[in-house]
């Protein structure tokens, strides 16, 4: 609501300025360094990282992280800069991968086409960019929510086509296997480490190029189209063309990532280009900060590493409980209150276990999923029933309910809700979630999207977008 007697626009801007917190001193200093030294440092760190001695599995995680970063950076063009809510982005990623796979395997023709990566990747990128233009042209009359649903349907249609149409060439649900590795200058990249280096270099180059674009004319055009398309048009910006460029560029980056993805795993499968991938890319962008390149990349790297750790039975428990503790320490003030809550939690846990054990030992006889230190710490504190599935499911429901209750209540009631939620989280984790890592990962990503939007819409690494006055 604007205050009376003040122009609505000015009052809104004033409100935003007063609510935006001042940037941290560290961040102020960091912003004095130019963009290319920062990007250079990032690139050097990424290139030096394998020298600390990574296993092949860790290199694979690195490849996934860089691929996610590349796709998130590409998604940022349409969503973050041009303000086009494109839910069909994952289809571009898949399209690039499929075009590359067709051009570098035995699928087409008698003996297959085996193009050099030098030819195949540009073809994949250009073809996908053209598809992007076609989709953009088709949807030029719709915006906002309509665009979202049309593009989402486009992704679904892509999924249907790859699964069902022409399974001789596209391979149906089994996809295309036997895709050539990237082959150029007479040598091929065959190791994960090679792809890691390739992706790191490509990511840095793409980010540099996009940064220059964003700071140039087209970047300003995107920004004006995003903030107010009507005004942009009155300022003689050809909004249709500007939007199409955003689509084409985003699709091109996605296709580049898709080609490298196809080459690195030696095949393409329709399952890689469905909703979970789309949501993951969105989560990376949103967590990092929509509209910033560094945010998109940082979000992707952080998200991959954390979710990958949650999948590891050895670290998952540590990461899970560590995250809960960290969350409590960061949000609960004053500290004495935190200590009181943790104390209550411990006493209540031991008491509950003692009572339940006395009543019916079967109910506390189940094994903990976590091992190591966590197991010894929680062994006499947490109840895990011997048939944990259904109680675990209910614990998830209780966790969600208490978590939501904690956001609406205050004072002691809120503290009790949080204590209950932490206990429910531990119970749900040990009873059910740790045994289902991939579903847990998906649920966490979904919850993350919602909570980031509510708590910190600008993302964790991004800056609050200031209005242009």
């Amino acid at each position: 609501m604007s205050s009376i007697g003040v122009d609505e626009w000015s009052s809104r801007v004033r409100e935003e300025q007063s609510s935006a917190s001042r940037p941290h001193a560290l961040r102020r200093h960091a912003s004095r360094i130019g963009w290319w030294p920062r990007l250079g440092v990032f690139g050097v760190v990424m290139l030096l990282l394998p020298h600390i001695g990574l296993s092949v599995y860790q290199e694979q995680v690195g490849i996934n992280a860089l691929l996610l970063a590349l796709t998130a950076v590409g998604l940022n063009i349409a969503v973050g800069w041009a303000g086009l809510f494109d839910l069909g982005y994952v289809a571009f990623y898949g399209f690039g991968a499929y075009v590359f796979a067709l051009l570098a395997s035995n699928q087409l023709g008698q003996h297959g086409i085996h193009l050099d990566a030098f030819l195949a990747i540009p073809i994949a990128v250009v073809v996908t960019a053209l598809i992007g233009v076609v989709l953009g042209q088709t949807t030029r009359r719709v915006s906002g929510d309509y665009l979202a649903i049309l593009t989402l349907f486009f992704a679904e249609a892509f999924n249907e086509v790859t699964n069902n149409v022409d399974s001789n060439r596209l391979g149906g649900p089994n996809g295309i296997s036997g895709v050539d590795p990237i082959h150029a200058f007479g040598s091929s990249i065959t190791t994960p480490l090679g792809y890691y280096y390739l992706l790191a270099v490509v990511l840095v180059l793409v980010m540099a190029g996009l940064h220059l674009l964003d700071k140039g004319r087209i970047g300003h055009a995107w920004q004006s189209v995003r903030e107010d398309a009507l005004v942009a048009r009155l300022m003689t910006i050809p909004i249709n063309r500007v939007k199409l460029i955003a689509y084409a560029l985003g699709a091109g980056v996605a296709a580049l990532a898709g080609s490298i993805f196809a080459a690195s795993q030696g095949g393409v499968y329709p399952i890689s280009f469905t909703q979970p991938t789309l949501v993951l890319i969105y989560a990376a962008l949103v967590v990092g900060g929509t509209g910033t390149l560094s945010g998109a990349a940082a979000g992707a790297l952080a998200l991959t590493v954390v979710t990958e750790l949650l999948r590891q039975p050895n670290y998952a428990g540590d990461v899970f409980y560590g995250a809960i503790l960290l969350g409590l320490v960061l949000t609960i003030r004053p500290r004495i209150r935190l200590a009181a809550m943790l104390g209550t939690l411990m006493v209540a846990g031991f008491a509950a276990r003692a009572i339940v054990e006395a009543a019916d030992p079967e109910w506390a006889a189940g094994p903990l999923q976590s091992g190591g230190v966590v197991r010894t710490l929680l062994g006499h504190w947490l109840i895990v029933p011997s048939s944990p599935t259904i109680p675990g499911n209910w614990a998830v429901v209780v966790l969600v309910a208490l978590g939501m209750a904690a956001t609406t209540t205050r004072g002691v009631v809120r503290d009790i809700c949080i204590v209950g939620a932490v206990y429910a989280a531990a119970f749900a984790w040990e009873a059910r979630l740790a045994a289902e890592p991939s579903i847990t990962r998906q649920m966490l990503i979904g919850a993350l999207l919602v909570s980031v939007m509510i708590v910190r819409p600008q993302g964790f690494f991004g800056f609050r977008r200031t209005a242009v006055v």
């Binding site: 969503v79 839910l87 679904e156 048009r233 979970p276 929509t290 059910r432 998906q442 979904g446 939007m453």
Partner: protein, 305 residues
């Protein structure tokens, strides 16, 4: 000819189901101008609730209660359950974002959609659960016109969908709740100044829309005989497509859009291949978007850009 008529019947049944989803979409969109991507998941949850009610009343082969009572229970509990979840979603995922840019609400609804779908896999498993409708509601009861066979389940679907649409139209046009909804839809701030509780109106809209999704879920369970956790996405897409084709925010339009999609899908399945039915709906959506962006029955809104 016989195939044609049978396909018409199938298409109408399917269309009525889409229409119920579309009605919910349309109402929520009409009031909030917000796309609730999680709407399809409420439909999926409705299908599961119906399945569990069926199990608890003895299982499809040995029902402990009379069939009509079980059916009423399934519909009622699914409607209540879905409505409850819808209200919770609205309160915790959308209300805090009501003043944020629309992209924020969309991302949030994408998160809710993903969360609900994975939660359904966690709770109910990824495999499909069979309703086994045939064993308590034989497909042979119903109307027989020569070779044409319209089973009771299908008649039920059409009747419920039509009754719902009429009821909703009356609700929106005649009752005070409907007046509040129209007011909030037209101008939220002005409605608030005139003493209409926006939060309450939005909550009621979510209750009605989500309950419809739940009912549609049970129906799909009865007609197709299964509930599966991946049901939500495609159903949601088609429901929204139906709403858009009919003209979003327009209740008879949602019904018409649902029927158009249902028939298109049924004919594609019958004459071409079931592989292409979803692609056909997508093509239809694009054509309508290009030729008549405001939908078949929608009022043309002056586009600024």
């Amino acid at each position: 000819m016989q195939l044609f008529v049978q396909l018409c019947v199938d298409g109408l049944t399917l269309g009525c189901m889409y229409a119920l989803i579309a009605l919910g979409y349309s109402m929520v969109y009409g009031v909030l101008r917000m796309l609730n991507l999680a709407h399809g998941d409420l439909y999926m949850i409705g299908a599961f609730i119906g399945y569990f009610i069926l199990q608890w009343s003895g299982g499809p082969t040995a029902l402990a209660l009379p069939v009509p009572l079980v059916l009423v229970c399934m519909f009622a509990v699914a409607a209540i359950g879905s409505a409850g979840i819808g209200v919770v979603i609205e309160r915790f995922a959308y209300r805090p974002l009501r003043k944020a840019p629309s992209v924020a609400a969309l991302v949030s609804s994408l998160g809710v959609f993903f969360l609900l779908e994975s939660a359904a896999i966690l709770f109910f498993g990824a495999q499909s659960r069979s309703y086994n409708t045939e064993s308590f509601l034989s497909f042979h009861t119903g109307i027989h016109l020569g070779p044409l066979n319209i089973s009771l389940v299908r008649i039920l679907t059409v009747v419920i969908a039509t009754a719902t649409m009429i009821g909703l139209t009356v609700l929106v046009r005649r009752t005070s709740l409907g007046r509040n909804m129209r007011a909030v839809s037209a101008d939220r701030e002005a409605a608030e100044m005139l003493g209409i509780s926006v939060n309450q109106t939005v909550r009621n809209t979510f209750i009605i829309g989500s309950a419809l999704a739940g009912v549609a879920g049970v129906m799909s369970g009865l007609v197709f005989g299964q509930a599966v956790s991946s049901l939500g996405l495609v159903a949601g897409l088609k429901g929204f497509t139906a709403a858009v084709i009919g003209g979003i925010g327009n209740l008879p339009g949602a019904m018409l859009g649902g029927l158009v999609i249902g028939l298109a899908e049924s004919f594609t399945t019958g004459y071409i291949s079931s592989t292409y039915s979803n692609l056909m709906v997508f093509g239809l959506l694009i054509v309508v978007m290009l030729l008549r962006p405001s939908g078949l029955l929608g009022k043309a809104i002056a586009e600024k850009v």
